[in-house]
């Protein structure tokens, strides 16, 4: 198999064995076990984080180029070939910039906020299985871990906003916290529909159960999850945290220099991490054709998701804050619950009563039902809301003006 090479490269245990033999040779017979464990875990984590940061740097370049191309511009193209040196130039610039702290700011909170925002985003990647085995750790509560860790983000945004004592920042972080917590519920509902079929919270189990990708089985769950994930990382059409035209720059108004770089890193890492989660939950993870390793397919799917996000970002405007809240609480919640119970009924009916297994045939049936349901629901909802909100009569000229002279 071609995959072996890659698996060995990033597998924890190969690292472990390597370090184990090193420590054995160095003469730590007794303690080489846990020392090599820590060494392997540390080096692998360090590698993973740096890879992720590099990927984010590349992603910022990719985003700028792609959106520029959507906007019939060129994007960064001066630093290095195709402008690839741009993110590094940015980082160096931001490190070299002066790091101003407002005199009224709550300095410890202000300083810790970027870390508190970056660390949870990074932590999500630990439980995502890039290939059949996890990249780092296989947790039984994988997806619950992700949901729990993302909720730290709202606190971090609060810290950033409150710490800088800036009105725009506080306004942005309040909106941000309210929005993040609102969309956590639909996101969890979208995940629940996946869990109904997967039957496990572990990410690798979820991937293994996707004989048919869950995006095909439950388009509505995908829609709900995707919408709320977009809000969770605060991208258009839900980017209320920054809302540059309204709030200046939102919660990171006062940040500069390296702190801004870290906030920026966390913010741009979110799409990567989210696309990884989406790939795992709905796009079959590393599944693909055998002639290329699973990691390739995983990254390819991530690219597709990221590109879709960029496409949306470059096309749609932003919703207002109350509309965003209304969308989460009034529409996505309903859709999520309906979707969950529909899938639960389907599972209860279609599941083999003896073995408790859903075959791919069952899933195809479910997919058929769910697609019909999704399309009908969305069309109905769009028409219902549209009729109520967007229909309007033809213009009637006001009687108060008459451009033809009346005569004396």
């Amino acid at each position: 198999m071609t995959q072996i090479y890659f698996v060995q490269l990033i597998d924890f245990y190969s690292f472990y064995e390597m370090f184990y033999s090193i420590f054995q040779n160095l003469g730590f017979e007794k303690s080489s076990s846990w020392m090599s464990y820590i060494a392997a875990g540390g080096s692998l984590s360090f590698l993973a984080i740096n890879l992720l940061v590099l990927a984010t740097a590349f992603y910022t370049w990719f985003e700028r180029r792609t959106i520029a191309r959507f906007q019939v511009r060129r994007g960064p193209n001066r630093n290095g070939p195709f402008g690839l040196g741009q993110p590094f130039a940015d980082v160096i610039k931001l490190i070299m910039k002066e790091d101003t702290i407002p005199s009224e700011a709550d300095k410890p909170v202000f300083t810790i906020a970027p870390i508190a925002l970056l660390a949870p985003t990074l932590l999500i990647i630990t439980v995502i299985p890039i290939d059949d085995s996890s990249f780092l750790a296989t947790l039984n509560i994988g997806i619950l871990f992700i949901v729990g860790i993302t909720s730290v983000n709202s606190i971090a945004i609060f810290m950033a906003g409150w710490g800088s004592r800036n009105k725009y920042a506080i306004l942005g972080s309040m909106r941000g916290a309210a929005m993040l917590i609102s969309y956590e519920i639909p996101m969890a509902l979208g995940i629940t529909s996946v869990l109904l079929i997967a039957g496990s919270l572990a990410m690798s189990e979820i991937v293994a159960k996707q004989e048919i990708w869950f995006i095909a089985v439950m388009p509505m769950g995908f829609f709900v999850f995707m919408a709320s994930a977009t809000a969770e990382m605060s991208r258009t059409p839900f980017d209320q945290i920054e809302a540059e035209s309204e709030l200046g720059s939102g919660y990171n108004t006062e940040f500069s220099g390296i702190k801004f770089a870290i906030l920026f890193l966390a913010e741009f890492m979110a799409p990567i991490v989210t696309s990884a989660v989406v790939t795992t939950l709905f796009l079959g993870g590393s599944q693909g054709f055998n002639f290329l390793p699973g990691q390739f397919w995983f990254v390819l799917k991530m690219f597709v998701v990221i590109f879709a996000l960029l496409w949306i970002r470059s096309t749609w405007p932003r919703l207002r804050v109350d509309q965003i809240m209304g969308f989460a609480w009034k529409i996505l919640m309903e859709l999520g619950f309906v979707n969950i119970f529909l899938i639960a009924i389907e599972v209860a009916i279609l599941m083999d009563p003896v073995t408790g297994i859903l075959t791919s045939q069952d899933m195809l049936i479910m997919a058929g039902i769910n697609w019909v349901f999704t399309i009908i629901t969305l069309v109905f909802l769009a028409n219902f809301l549209g009729k109520r909100n967007y229909d309007r009569p033809d213009p009637v000229p006001s009687p108060l003006a008459n451009m033809e002279p009346k005569g004396e």
Binding site: Y168, A243, P317, R320, L400
Partner: protein, 368 residues
């Protein structure tokens, strides 16, 4: 539902703010997200145009008018030179009138494109429609460059006509533009005015009723969005507008959506006007035989044109000298800001930006 009584917070929006369209400042008092009070603060771009005009001669003032509404200098030039012509009784050759109308309508398209693009930018469309709008606007600016060597501050018109005829480069480029533009405008309309998010953000937001609109003295697309069918090109036809056939689009209820939709429709009408002008224009002189130092008889006159922002009027008083005794500008952007409070109170912070964007102010004209 009022909720718990919270302390209102007063926030400065501007002058250094990304979306106040220049150095405009609003002191806004929010209750949570809701606007409960606001006060516009003007004057960061005040250059005393009216005072300067009293020390320039009639031809030189043309260059001052460029700097007022700097995204629509042609219309400013037109309004000013028309007033001078009226004051001193100059007859303008017909060809010059046609070229002036073509320029004014091109300028209207350019200005409306910019207004629409920036409104969408304020709504948060990440500048994509803005750049599509700018792409088309650049073509118009290229035309202006061919015509008079400048792109923004044109100073193209002179009392008595225009200073230089358009050569064949210009006509060819104009033909191409007029053929392409309707298609791009349709695309723009499909991209933005049918978009449900834009509808959700702009429909029924910041409504200005027709009676209020007249009472507050707003003009231009804002007045027409409030269902008032009033356009000086039809109501008081100047130049050769009475020979042209075009519609005056109006809005449904005077909300933010209507204000930018009226602009989109007006661009289509402007294309129609230009097409007709190209057909009708004939050769002839382009400038009446006017002296450089015009000395009108003592008297006064008020003339106005329908600029992209609204009724742009000049009130000139002559004492028989080479420069006007008093030059008052009726600046549409300035007067359109009067109902700001009326439109904005009770709306959210995001709406504030879109409503301000839909008024389409240019600070050069507001502060003069």
């Amino acid at each position: 539902m009022t909720g718990i009584r919270t302390e209102p917070v007063t926030v400065n929006l501007g002058p250094q703010h990304p979306s106040t369209h220049g150095v405009f400042r609003l002191r806004v008092t929010f209750d949570g997200e809701e606007i409960i009070d606001l006060e516009p603060v003007f004057g960061y771009l005040h250059r005393g145009t009216e005072k300067l005009a009293e020390t320039r001669n009639y031809t030189q003032i043309v260059t001052l008018t460029d700097r007022m509404d700097y995204v629509a200098s042609m219309s400013n030039n037109l309004a000013y030179v028309r007033t001078v012509e009226k004051l001193s009784g100059i007859q303008v050759p017909e060809r010059a009138q046609y070229i002036r109308v073509i320029c004014a309508e091109l300028q209207r398209i350019a200005s409306h494109l910019m207004a629409t693009g920036f409104l969408l930018n304020d709504i948060g469309a990440l500048a994509t429609p803005l750049i599509y709008c700018f792409r088309e606007r650049e073509k118009i600016l290229d035309l202006f460059e061919m015509l008079c060597g400048a792109r923004i501050t044109l100073s193209y018109m002179r009392p008595g006509g225009i200073f230089q005829d358009a050569d064949s480069d210009f006509w060819n480029a104009l033909d191409i533009l007029i053929q392409e533009l309707p298609h791009y405008l349709d695309e723009l309309e499909a991209l933005i005015s049918k978009n449900e998010i834009v509808l959700a953000r702009t429909r029924s937001v910041g409504i200005l009723s027709d009676a209020d609109a007249i009472d507050y003295g707003v003009t231009g697309p804002i007045l027409r969005a409030s269902r008032v069918k009033w356009d000086l090109r039809k109501a008081n036809p100047y130049e050769i507008y009475n020979r042209l056939d075009f519609e005056i689009p109006i809005g449904v209820e005077g909300d933010t959506y209507d204000r930018f939709h009226v602009r989109l429709l007006e661009m289509q009408e402007s294309v129609k006007i230009i097409t007709q002008c190209i057909k009708q224009i004939e050769k002839g002189p382009i400038r009446a035989n006017t002296p450089y130092f015009i000395r009108p008889k003592p008297g006064e006159t008020y003339q106005s044109v329908e600029g992209p922002k609204g009724e742009l009027g000049f009130y000139l008083i002559s004492d028989g000298g080479v420069s006007p005794y008093r030059c008052k500008v009726r600046a549409p952007s300035f007067i359109n800001l009067t109902p700001l409070k009326k439109m904005m109170l009770g709306w959210k912070m995001g709406d504030l930006i879109t409503i301000l964007g839909s008024i389409d102010i240019v600070l050069g004209e507001v502060d003069r």
